[in-house]
């Protein structure tokens, strides 16, 4: 799940995030630079020394959001989200992403309510900071933008909570904000605005990216409910084992199919050889089992196989890596 998802998040940042957040944060950035220029120009007459303040703004912003992602992921972990809450959260993220996309596409004014407006005392605080001219001002301002996330950023924040993992949460926001940075830098440096037409085209592309990302998450969420995409029933001539072993590798579970006897007590051994990320959270949705096996360790999950013969999917916590348990 990691690579493709992070890439999609980066693209979303590059396009949607860059634009939706630019409205205000870009405005703050340019007004801060304008203030600096009017002060500095009177002393040194040097113009166009904008790169340093913009970079420090973007750098501080990146750090602040990465930290936020860490906190959100940690929050998701501390609250000890049960499997059903995770499923619910993941569906909520999907709805939120779709709502944001519909809003960008101006489908109906009702979708404007998907965009959360930050409380006024925070927006005032951020604005006040933008009027300072000292050297740390751009850094403060960059970090302060965490209080005024745009719609797309909010969707990413929800995603970070849903992972329930501080490291993945931090990675998601890091990659996303990194994606937003080039546009910020370019527009900040040239202190220019995109033309209306180009802006609209960008936004439409952004909305499509969001919808794709939502579809991707929906697929994962659906898997977590235990829904099987290709339920062909158990194969013939399977040999059941009471003590099967599954290895957790970089790109999946191996083997990705095990066989147990109906109504038997199963002791399943999990060996995490080199699986990092969500694959560490081995999940059997139908039984409500989730066991986190950190990289390089092993664990055993015991359960009683269902009475009913058939198949039961297992997967990682995001529903991306999967396998199946045949019950015979």
């Amino acid at each position: 799940m990691q690579e493709i998802n992070l890439f999609a998040i980066f693209i979303t940042g590059l396009v949607t995030g860059g634009l939706t957040c630019l409205a205000v944060q870009g405005g703050l950035l340019t007004s801060m630079i304008a203030q600096r220029e009017s002060t500095i120009a009177s002393v040194t007459n040097a113009k166009g020394q904008n790169a340093v303040p913009i970079l420090s703004f973007l750098f501080a912003k990146l750090i602040a959001y990465t930290f936020l992602g860490f906190l959100l992921g940690w929050l998701g972990a501390v609250v000890q989200l049960s499997l059903s809450i995770k499923v619910f959260l993941q569906f909520a993220v999907v709805v939120f992403m779709l709502g944001t996309a519909m809003n960008i596409l101006n489908v109906h004014p009702i979708f404007r309510y998907f965009v959360i407006q930050p409380p006024r005392f925070l927006t005032r605080l951020v604005r006040r900071q933008s009027k300072r001219t000292d050297l740390f001002a751009p850094m403060f301002l960059g970090a302060f933008t965490v209080f005024i996330p745009c719609g797309t950023t909010q969707a990413m924040m929800a995603l970070a909570i849903a992972t329930g993992n501080p490291i993945i949460g931090a990675t998601i926001l890091f990659v996303f904000i990194l994606g937003t940075s080039p546009l910020f830098f370019i527009l900040g440096y040239f202190a220019s605005k995109l033309g209306e037409k180009l802006h609209n085209q960008f936004m439409q592309f952004a909305a499509v990216t969001l919808i794709l990302l939502a579809a991707y998450n929906f697929y994962g969420a659906l898997a977590l409910t235990g829904y099987s995409f290709s339920d062909k029933g158990p194969q013939q001539n399977l040999v059941a084992s009471d003590t099967p072993t599954i290895s957790i590798n970089e790109f999946g579970y191996s083997p990705n199919a095990i066989t147990v006897k109906a109504n038997s007590d199963v002791s399943l051994r999990l060996d995490n050889k080199n699986g990092s990320g969500c694959i560490q959270a081995f999940t059997i949705p139908a039984l409500g089992i989730q066991k986190i096996v950190p990289l390089g360790s092993s664990a055993t999950v015991t359960f009683r196989a269902p009475n009913q013969k058939g198949t039961m999917p297992f997967m990682c916590s995001m529903g991306m890596y999967r396998g199946v348990i045949n019950i015979i």
Partner: protein
């Protein structure tokens, strides 16, 4: 003091609401400005001896949005 609501068009995100409020509250005569992104409305409390509806609409237009009294 007078309270007037303005209909705003052209806000892309909730941050635009912050831009409008910030700009208006920096204007002499404006006591308070409250913009709702979702409702597309700005409620401005101002001193009519210092500023007019027309001037407020102009300020909002200058930062890239269109406004009209409701």
């Amino acid at each position: 003091m007078r309270t007037q609501r303005f209909k705003i068009d052209g806000m892309h995100c909730s941050s635009c609401a912050m831009n409008i409020d910030g700009e208006l509250e920096d204007t002499k005569g404006v006591k308070e400005s409250k913009t709702s992104y979702a409702k597309m409305i700005t409620e401005v409390v101002y001193d009519e001896s210092l500023i007019s509806d027309k001037k407020i609409i102009e300020i909002v237009k200058n930062i890239g949005y269109s406004a009209s009294t409701t």
